[in-house]
């Protein structure tokens, strides 16, 4: 009896030993060298694996940064939008490099086709998918550039930063946005753009992507950009260009002077998070968007207050409204 136990233990032990020796040499022979820095960099990344950096996951981004640091001694063109500057600084310190601070970005919705501005003429019944609806027809209100309101961007967002507002039928972006680009890719109509968050979250942008001539554009939507080029003329900083009847504000040149907002006849240019203007001002802010100040703890998206004055009353009365808003 004892013999059997001894033999089994010895035999198994022997097999184990031989296998271990073989494995040891194989492991030595076929060892793949991996820079330990990659692990260190990966540690510093947010592990969201969102792909916002352009690489498939955080590990791939870490590899790319280490490679770039070795080859060129810089991290140019590499940025983790989710982690932002802090993360990139940490990555830089791990790799012993100075990283230039980049401006944080945020997704902006370039359509204001609310039911009031862009009334529906037909009703869509079908699959809840923007890309399908986009392939199928022009849109409920007739503007073929407008938001379809079926929420492909909301589905694409991994950060609960974007949700569809049931009232306006448009997506709303909140502070959780990490500028990962997923919604930009998901939108079949290229309505969403990543723009600078701006100082104190202040931004100015053209909230329209309609490239039609003024007449047809205005026919479908009250607040469409009609390509009148008033804003282009008033801008002293060459920030505004008009391309196929559509104004575009280059946020690199824009100084947030708000002159263009004043002259826009259709309120297509939005100013966000500015203080209300002085009562003297001819025209009010078209939109006042309040930044959420409470820390995010509910896990649910926090709605921003969006007031589109252009929707509510004609221009003269809106002056009045602005006065009330002032304090």
């Amino acid at each position: 009896m004892d013999n059997i136990i001894l033999i089994s233990v010895a035999a198994l032990g022997g097999v184990g030993l031989v296998a271990a020796v073989i494995l040891f040499f194989i492991a030595k022979k076929f060892k793949v060298y991996e820079d330990p820095l990659i692990d260190d960099v990966e540690e510093a990344l947010p592990a969201a694996n969102c792909g916002g950096c352009g690489f498939p996951g955080c590990r791939a981004f870490a590899e790319a940064t280490v490679k770039s640091a070795k080859d060129t001694r810089s991290l140019e063109g590499l940025n983790c939008p989710v982690g932002g500057n802090d993360t990139m600084q940490t990555v830089g310190s791990v790799l012993g490099l100075e990283v230039e601070a980049s401006d944080p970005l945020i997704a902006v919705i370039r359509c204001n086709g609310t039911p009031t501005n862009h009334p529906a003429k037909v009703k869509y019944e079908g699959a809840t998918s923007c890309s399908f609806a986009h392939a199928l027809y022009g849109g409920e209100g007739g503007c073929q550039y407008s938001c379809l309101g079926l929420g492909d961007c909301e589905v694409a967002c991994d950060f609960e930063a974007l949700y569809m507002n049931a009232e306006t039928g448009l997506p709303v972006v909140n502070d959780k946005c990490t500028a990962c680009n997923a919604c930009v890719v998901a939108c079949p109509r290229d309505i969403i753009e990543l723009r600078k968050r701006g100082p104190k979250e202040r931004r100015i942008f053209v909230s329209c992507v309609n490239a039609e001539k003024g007449g047809p554009a205005k026919k479908n939507c009250q607040t469409a950009c009609i390509g009148c080029s008033k804003c282009e003329k008033v801008c002293k900083f060459d920030a505004i260009t008009i391309n196929s009847f559509l104004a575009y504000i280059n946020f690199e040149n824009c100084t947030l002077c708000r002159k263009c907002v004043e002259v826009c006849p259709t309120n297509a240019i939005w100013e966000v998070n500015f203080r209300p203007r002085k009562p003297k001002a001819e025209k009010p802010a078209s939109v006042i968007e309040r930044k959420t100040e409470t820390p995010v703890d509910t896990g649910k998206p926090i709605p921003l207050t969006v007031t589109a004055i252009a929707e509510e009353q004609p221009k003269k009365e809106s002056d009045q409204n602005n006065k009330e808003n002032k304090d």
């Binding site: 079908g126 998918s129 027809y137 022009g138 007739g142």
Partner: protein, 447 residues
């Protein structure tokens, strides 16, 4: 007649509702303004050759083909070019088009406008194909594939059968039916010309059994025509699909990703056969077509011979107006047609009918969960699993969709029609097909 032929897999039999079957084809008045979109064929849109202010005659060339799979467009009216601008297409998207202000109706001199039947077949293959190409002919069934491309089999393939599609399996539509009854002789001559172009000796006209008058009429007419026969078919949707029709008539299966020519067949619509006759014997380019205007509430369901470019509202007016409880206007038949967003959109080469749906039937039912009843799989004429394909398309798993042959889907809508849970299966299938197709093309490989 014994057991009627039909295709092997799936299929449905929706209510036929051929309300306008007895309405003779009426010629509709020329519109005041004609809107001619440049993209009227499958493939590349045409390129305008006229400019603003030009005077054009009916039948004059307006736009030329801009590629291999592209066709020229001729002026359906005479008048002045008012604008070359964006016009609405049937999806509600703006698309380059020509707007003509109509003045009188002056035709090009070399077009024979008489009703006299010309039966000479004294043409070579090349002459026929060239004329078909120059006349801007496309598949009149709705797919609008340039006809001349179909007449030139790729090297290594030879056509054996010409199949003329008189099935008209879509409910409500009757334009092909009326055309066979009223222009049967011309269709037979057109078929003979097509046979000559394809160098085939056998042509079969397939007609569903719900059109006994057309079957009898065509059978009578082909008695003296060598090699042409008429085949009555069991009523089954989507028998008008090329692959289904070939299976039904000659019992051959077109392999996945291949064209009918791979099994020696070429399928042409009866409308195309008629257009071929007109193009060759009468020198008339494709400038008009028969369009059915129908619907349960329509006062006068009709079949109109309409010039291309006529706004759809003119047709509705001619059918004694828009019924009050119309909730949806469909361009095409109820199964494969597309709801339109404006009645300003014009009739194009591929328009086969305008269906005005009343409120009761227009709206979709509320979607509920899939209960795995597998009805969609039973009715799929291509042997696919629509429930699976729509699910993977919804989830964006296009690799699975490709493996499960989503590209074979003919978008007939049988699955969605039969789904007891009213799931928009076809919507997601179309989405998946679009995306999968784009992925496949980006890889640079076919099917």
């Amino acid at each position: 007649m014994g057991i009627l032929k039909t295709f092997a897999l799936g299929g449905i039999h929706p209510e036929e509702n051929k309300l306008s079957a007895n309405a003779a084809i009426e010629t509709l008045a020329v519109p005041e303004q004609a809107f001619i979109p440049m993209g009227q064929n499958l493939g590349a849109p045409s390129k305008p050759v006229v400019k603003r202010g030009d005077k054009v005659k009916t039948g004059q060339l307006l736009a030329e083909a801009s590629g291999f799979i592209s066709t020229p467009i001729h002026s359906p009216v005479s008048g002045t070019i008012f604008k070359i601008d964006n016009t609405l297409n049937s999806s509600g998207y703006k698309q380059p088009g020509i707007i003509i202000k109509v003045e009188g109706d002056e035709w090009e001199e070399d077009i024979d406008r008489s009703d006299e039947l010309v039966t000479t077949l004294d043409y070579t293959t090349e002459q026929i194909i060239d004329k078909v190409k120059k006349a801007g002919l496309v598949g009149m069934g709705g797919a609008t594939f340039p006809t001349y491309v179909k007449l030139m089999p790729p090297p290594g393939n030879t056509a054996e059968y010409l199949i003329i599609n008189g099935v008209e399996c879509e409910p409500y539509l009757t334009s092909d039916h009326r055309l066979m009854l009223e222009k049967g002789r011309e269709i037979v001559v057109g078929t003979q010309l097509l046979m000559k172009a394809l160098k085939v000796t056998k042509a079969i006209i397939g007609i569903e059994n719900n059109k006994p008058d057309a079957i009898n009429h065509m059978t009578e007419l082909v008695k003296n025509a060598d090699g042409i026969s008429v085949q009555a078919l069991k009523v089954q949707y989507p028998q008008g699909g090329e692959k289904q029709l070939i299976k039904a008539i000659v019992n051959r299966e077109v392999p996945s990703g291949k064209l009918p020519i791979a099994v020696g067949c070429v399928v042409q619509n009866v409308g195309t056969a008629f257009a071929v006759y007109e193009a060759i014997q009468k020198n008339k380019p494709l400038i008009d077509r028969v369009v059915t205007v129908t619907g349960k509430a329509v006062k006068k369901p009709s079949n109109f011979l309409v010039r291309i470019g006529t706004p759809i509202k003119n047709l509705i007016d001619a059918a004694e107006g828009l019924p009050e409880d119309t909730a949806k206007i469909i361009n095409g038949g109820p199964m494969m047609g597309k709801a339109i967003t404006s009645t300003d959109i014009p009739v194009v080469k591929g328009s086969s009918g305008i269906l005005l749906m009343e409120k009761e039937n227009a709206h979709r039912k509320t979607e509920s969960a899939c209960i795995r009843c597998s009805k969609c799989t039973y009715v799929c004429p291509m042997g696919l699993e629509p429930f699976l394909l729509s699910k993977v398309s919804k989830l964006g798993k296009f690799d699975i969709a490709e493996d499960e042959m989503i590209m074979d889907c003919i978008e007939c809508g049988s699955c969605q029609y039969t789904c007891p849970a009213s799931i928009p299966l076809l919507d997601y299938l179309r989405l998946g097909k679009n995306k999968t197709g784009a992925i496949i093309r980006s890889r640079g490989k076919t099917g």
